[in-house]
């Protein structure tokens, strides 16, 4: 977890650009205020919501979140740079998170990761050119009894063998979870697709809702 620094001379946010957070997203963020004593405490929920809305958290989104929470933009950057779950660049529609901790390694997780890299043609922390998949590795996913395991968006795939990878990637429903979802940390459903950057989220949203 290293520090993230930016060049002060480089303009990262265009002050004239239209806002990236819709009013519905802002309202959803504000709905968390009664839960906490400070507005800053809403930062993590806010980042979850914004990331769900646009697939990542852009510099401009950080500035706007800071505005909603009445904190300094630097505070948002300070927090966001600490956590591995938040992305400041575009993600693929589906993020594959491969566990690399000890149980999965002992049970052959590295081979699964290699197979994924070959099939997708990308390295760790990269996104396929068609924007469909991103590949990341993370420490223990707490699925050690089903090692080796990986997440595709929210769905935990258990006991994955390298031979299963092709079938897994071809399955259009490989990110569907078997339990009813709570939309507490999701972006509001009625948000326009236009602000969703390259249009990644609405698809994910539809798939999740389906």
């Amino acid at each position: 977890m290293s520090w993230k620094t930016i060049d002060r001379n480089q303009q990262v946010v265009d002050p004239k650009a239209p806002p990236v957070l819709t009013e519905a997203v802002r309202e959803k963020i504000r709905s968390f205020f009664p839960r906490y004593e400070t507005k800053r405490a809403v930062l993590l929920p806010a980042l979850h919501i914004v990331q769900d809305a646009s697939g990542h958290v852009s510099w401009q989104a950080m500035v706007e979140i800071a505005g909603v929470l009445e904190i300094a933009p630097s505070d948002v950057i300070d927090t966001i740079s600490f956590y591995t779950h938040f992305w400041t660049e575009h993600k693929g529609k589906r993020v594959i998170t491969v566990c690399r901790s000890i149980s999965c390694e002992v049970m052959g997780g590295a081979a699964v990761l290699e197979e994924l890299k070959t099939r997708l043609g990308i390295e760790e922390h990269q996104t396929t050119p068609d924007g469909k998949y991103s590949l990341v590795t993370e420490e223990c996913l707490a699925g050690c009894d089903h090692a080796p395991c990986l997440l595709i968006n929210e769905k935990l795939h258990k006991r994955v063998k390298p031979a299963d990878v092709a079938k897994l990637l071809a399955d259009p429903e490989n990110d569907r979870i078997p339990v009813p979802r709570s939309d507490l940390f999701d972006a509001p459903k009625d948000h326009g697709a236009a602000e969703a950057g390259v249009g990644t989220t609405s698809d994910v949203q539809e798939m999740r809702e389906a």
């Binding site: 400070t38 938040f86 390694e105 002992v106 049970m107 050690c144 339990v179």
Partner: protein, 435 residues
């Protein structure tokens, strides 16, 4: 002990066990009703008498923790630590997946005992399904009047919110968790003041692990004497044990703290023996951070006291991972050092630098470019880290050094042999890449 009847996992495998109806039909929420008829101090006293030691890793008695709260407080907050990030631990996941209402009931009782008005469940973000399951259960509990205003018709009010983390191991440390809840980097705080005095939003705060809270309803329902009758006097009550790695039945099993590591691996109703007749080389019995056991030390008892006799830090999360004979220990060393190198929060210099250097050295060793003195350098680095010499804010560097130290000390012969067997020209080539 084969006749032990599961307590915490009693609803595992019951159809629809996540619904409030099924939970209540099996005696659920009776303990909370009972607790709310007692005074808060009576509840604290009962839990203290049961000697319920924290299941999150440190083993600190939960009831005693509750008594540290200042007497004249006006507002108290309860945090439920569901940031289960210790590899290879998954007992909280199993509890929340199979029986979310048990956790809610435990939370209600603990919040009542500490007179908390709000309970935050800090859940790691990788728990997606578990979040949806728990959130649904919380919604059900609100609808049934078990959370919110005037719980069970009494004057007690409690709000319960899930707060999702964002992928940081150190947020499982209680003050790191509090900082993260406040919307900051999950940097642990210097103690004192302890959270019980000044925690979340500078209010008196109690942080308890999921499994600890799941024990509470059973203590209230069946009494402290029942609880202390299970297991040895210093490690009372039922405990969940996780076993993973190349065993026939990896999973989460419940038992009194009288079993040994060997039983956990071999017993038919637990690990079920090694997969395809593989042989044990090493075991990490208490989660990654507690240390390593050799195949000759499998008779260690899984309780709060015995692990120290084997040079381990403690029981930890009681999650064992088995490493079989086919695995190269240099890879294990690299994996463990990488974990702490990535997850060190970066506040204390010796932890940030130490874990990173240990990872670099371990990578070199794993890539056939090790030197014999490297092992001593790792040991020296590890001696300069941690709370035990009083150098760091939190316990992460202790957790980082114990497995690495024990692995090197207990398997030094094998590691040295591997280093000696390296092809010399390969070492040279690898070093060129690494440097």
């Amino acid at each position: 002990m084969a006749s032990f009847e599961p307590v915490l996992l009693r609803n595992l495998g019951v159809e629809n066990s996540r619904s409030v109806r099924v939970y209540e039909s099996r005696g659920g929420y009776q303990a909370a009703r009972k607790a709310l008829k007692m005074t808060p101090d009576e509840v604290v006293e009962e839990v203290k008498k049961a000697n319920l030691r924290g299941r999150g890793g440190a083993g600190f008695p939960a009831g005693v923790k509750w008594t540290f709260l200042p007497k004249d407080r006006t507002r108290t907050l309860l945090c439920v630590n569901a940031d289960e990030s210790e590899p290879p631990t998954f007992n909280n996941r199993v509890l929340m997946e199979s029986d979310p209402h048990q956790l809610i009931e435990g939370t209600i009782i603990a919040a009542y005992a500490t007179r908390a008005q709000i309970a935050y469940v800090y859940m790691r973000v990788e728990f997606h399904e578990q979040f949806h399951i728990l959130q649904r259960a919380i919604d059900e509990a609100y609808a049934a009047g078990y959370l919110g205003e005037k719980i069970f018709g009494t004057d007690y009010c409690l709000e319960c919110y899930v707060h999702r983390g964002a992928g940081a191991y150190v947020c499982g440390e209680e003050t790191g968790l509090i900082e993260s809840l406040e919307g900051k980097r999950g940097w642990p705080r210097i103690k004192p003041p302890f959270p019980a005095v000044e925690g979340l939003f500078r209010r008196p705060t109690v942080v308890n692990n999921v499994e600890t809270l799941c024990c509470v309803p059973h203590i209230i329902e069946r009494g402290a004497n029942w609880f202390t009758s299970i297991g040895p006097p210093h490690s009372t009550g039922p405990k969940l044990f996780c076993i993973s790695g190349p065993v026939n039945r990896p999973g989460c099993y419940e038992s009194p703290m009288t079993i040994t590591v060997r039983e956990l691996i071999e017993r038919e109703d637990m690990g079920g023996g090694m997969l395809k007749g593989k042989r044990v080389k090493a075991v990490l019995p208490g989660g990654a951070s507690m240390g390593v056991l050799t195949a000759a030390e499998l008779d260690m008892k899984m309780d709060f006291e015995d692990p120290r006799k084997y040079g381990l830090l403690g029981l930890g999360t009681a999650a064992a991972v088995v490493v079989d004979e086919s695995v190269d220990l240099r890879g294990v060393l690299r994996n463990l050092t990488r974990f702490y190198g990535t997850e060190s929060c970066g506040q204390c210099t010796q932890c940030r630098e130490g874990t990173a250097w240990m990872y670099k050295i371990a990578t070199r060793i794993a890539m056939d470019a090790g030197r014999l003195e490297d092992l001593d350098i790792i040991l020296e680095t590890s001696r300069n880290m941690g709370m035990m010499p009083g150098l760091s804010i939190c316990g992460l560097p202790d957790g980082a050094t114990y497995p690495i130290e024990t692995l090197i000390k207990k398997f030094r012969g094998e590691l040295e042999a591997a280093i000696r067997a390296q092809p010399p020209d390969r070492a040279e080539r690898v070093l060129k890449v690494l440097n």
